[in-house]
């Protein structure tokens, strides 16, 4: 008897529960649908960026909840570009459903709230404001290291740092140097993803052949948005403070066999080695054998070497001494120093070969006069005698 009473009570409870379930209204069921998450890609937009907003809802009710539509509405300057869920079916009991919309930022910095509206058939609607952040700030590029001076044709190292001051990550970051008359090795550097407040460094060997502007262009993606930002580095040529510096001293010019022989010393007064140093004479001087050019071995800083050259020059007072040398990268440098040939005249051009100098001419005239007078008077005396 006792078992019969217990079983009956249990069955009665079941009936009561079933009755209670059957008694829930559609509004009550719809109320069991809740938003469990919202994801925005990219997490932080930039003005003009296109992003996807994915909102996930879960039906925690025991029964399926019919949904007529899921729409996102533009709020402020967040434009909703599409609404693919104009019609929808139902969300099964315990199921999760994600609704993805495409939006575009059309505003400055700030947080905006486009709304998701789930329209339950005959049971009201669910409204959910999705926070979307917009930041105007871009990744920054800063020059970490540039040489004190650029020289035409000389390779120099330029190092830049790319940093991400944004709240969100940027991807596919790469740096591309460019500029008129600029050769860069490498032509670009790929950095990859930059986390918020992260930074990375890129190093380039830059060889300019003229004064120009070196532009460092940073390309990156914010979500699916490809963006660029750039920084300019002016390239102006000036004297390389650390480079080799050739100084000519002890120059002696002597006439020799119708030409000139010049000798002297070349000293590297710079801080870097000068390689393949070659000394010759430039126009209007004409190098002649036997020493048209004089190759000097590499000159270390503070090193010295002598040279000898032979050349011809006519109707000039000075000729340029041309010194060519290379740095360790093979870049060619040329320096010129004028040497005077005035006062070092060749035969036929002045004191040593031209017209007789005035004092000597006067001496000759005086001797001629004396001899003439002596001869004249000796003959006169002879006649008188």
């Amino acid at each position: 008897m006792r078992e019969v009473v217990f079983t009956g009570a249990f069955l009665l409870l079941l009936l009561l529960l079933c009755g209670a379930a059957d008694a829930a209204t559609p509004e009550e069921d719809a109320a069991q649908v809740m938003v469990t998450g919202a994801v925005i890609d990219p997490a932080v937009l930039m003005p003009g960026d296109v992003a996807t907003v994915t909102v996930t809802v879960k039906n925690t009710a025991q029964v399926s909840v019919p949904v007529r539509s899921a729409k996102m509405y533009t709020e402020g300057n967040i434009l909703v570009l599409d609404n693919p869920y104009q019609t929808f079916g139902a969300i099964g009991a315990g199921n999760e459903v994600s609704f993805t919309f495409t939006v575009q930022a059309d505003a400055g910095s700030g947080t905006y709230y486009p709304r998701l509206v789930l329209d339950f058939t005959n049971a009201g609607s669910l409204r959910y404001a999705v926070p979307v952040r917009i930041e105007v700030v871009e990744p920054r590029i800063s020059v970490a290291d540039v040489p004190d001076a650029f020289t035409a044709g000389k390779k120099e190292i330029v190092r830049v740092t790319v940093s991400n001051p944004r709240s969100g990550e940027v991807n596919g970051v790469s740096v591309v140097p460019s500029g008129e008359g600029i050769v860069s090795v490498p032509t670009s550097t790929f950095i990859g993803a930059l986390a918020p407040d992260g930074s990375a460094e890129a190093t380039f060997n830059i060889t300019p052949d003229r004064e120009t502007t070196l532009t460092m262009t940073v390309t990156y993606r914010n979500g699916r948005n490809q963006r660029t930002t750039e920084a300019s580095i002016p390239i102006t040529f000036s004297e390389d403070k650390k480079g080799a510096r050739i100084v000519v001293s002890g120059v002696e010019v002597t006439p020799e066999n119708g030409s000139y022989r010049v000798s002297g010393d070349v000293t590297n007064a710079g801080l870097e080695v000068a390689k393949a140093v070659v000394v010759t004479v430039g126009s209007p001087g004409v190098p002649v054998d036997p020493d048209r050019v004089y190759p000097v071995a590499s000159l270390d800083p503070d090193d010295l070497s002598n040279f000898e050259l032979t050349f011809r020059a006519e109707n000039v007072t000075e000729v340029p001494l041309v010194i060519e040398y290379r740095d360790t990268d093979g870049n060619l440098y040329t320096t010129r120093t004028n040497i005077s040939v005035e006062g070092t005249v060749l035969p036929g051009q002045g004191e040593e070969g031209g017209p007789v100098p005035l004092t000597i001419a006067l001496l000759i005239v005086a001797v001629v006069a004396v001899v003439g007078v002596v001869v004249f008077f000796s003959w006169k005396k002879a006649k008188g005698g």
Binding site: N257, R261, V367, V374, S378, G385
Partner: protein, 215 residues
């Protein structure tokens, strides 16, 4: 009475007229000739040794010896040239029926060397001045072209050219002395003596002028 050197230089007619009556004495003329030769030898030796530094080491000793030999030959050849010169004048004067001892001709020609001593001293001074200011180039003396260019460079030097021009002028002075010397040494008229002396001297001067490159 003035010194005989001034007489020779300024009034050769009177000097040789006085000497004509005396026996020929060759000591003084020989010394005059020898002095001329010695000064010439010094000049040549200076010129040759001045280029020693630019010569190769193996050639320096040889050139030094050649310089000494040339200087000695110059001294020795001076009296020989004197004698030959006197012989030429003596021979030429024979065409004008000249009479007189050869020694007298030698004596007359020797006294004519007084202006040539002055000429030799000036040449020595000019040569020394030239060598002091001249930078000898480093050339290959085995190269004929280089050697020729080097010689041209020296010969066209104003100082050297001036020495040669003055040499010609002093030679004219010496010829003037020789005319009066031969006049009395060989008993010639002044005109005949001028021809006897003038012809070879003029020929010599023309050759010198050609060497100077004027003609």
């Amino acid at each position: 009475m003035s010194h005989w050197i001034f007489d020779v230089l300024l009034n050769p007619d009177a000097f040789f007229r006085e000497r004509a009556e005396k026996a020929p004495a060759l000591m003084v003329p020989f010394i005059l000739v020898l002095i001329t030769g010695i000064i010439g030898a010094v000049t040549i030796y200076l010129s040759m040794t001045a280029m020693l530094p630019v010569l190769p080491a193996d050639m320096q000793g040889l050139v030094s010896i050649i310089g000494i030999a040339t200087a000695v030959v110059t001294v020795i050849s001076a009296p020989i040239i004197w004698a030959l010169q006197a012989l030429v004048f003596y021979a030429l004067s024979s065409f004008y029926n000249g009479s007189g001892d050869l020694k007298k001709s030698l004596e007359a020609v020797g006294y004519g060397y007084v202006p040539l001593i002055v000429s030799a001293l000036i040449a020595l001074a000019l040569t020394y001045s030239f060598l002091s200011s001249f930078s000898f180039p480093s050339i290959d003396f085995t190269d004929p072209a280089a050697t020729a260019a080097f010689q041209e460079m020296i010969q066209t030097s104003p100082l050297i050219q001036a020495g040669q021009i003055l040499g010609v002028i002093f030679l004219v002075w010496a010829a003037n002395i020789w005319i009066f010397g031969m006049k009395y040494a060989r008993g010639l008229t002044t005109r005949d003596a001028a021809v006897v002396v003038g012809v070879p001297v003029v020929l010599y001067i023309v050759s010198q002028i050609i060497m100077l490159g004027v003609l």
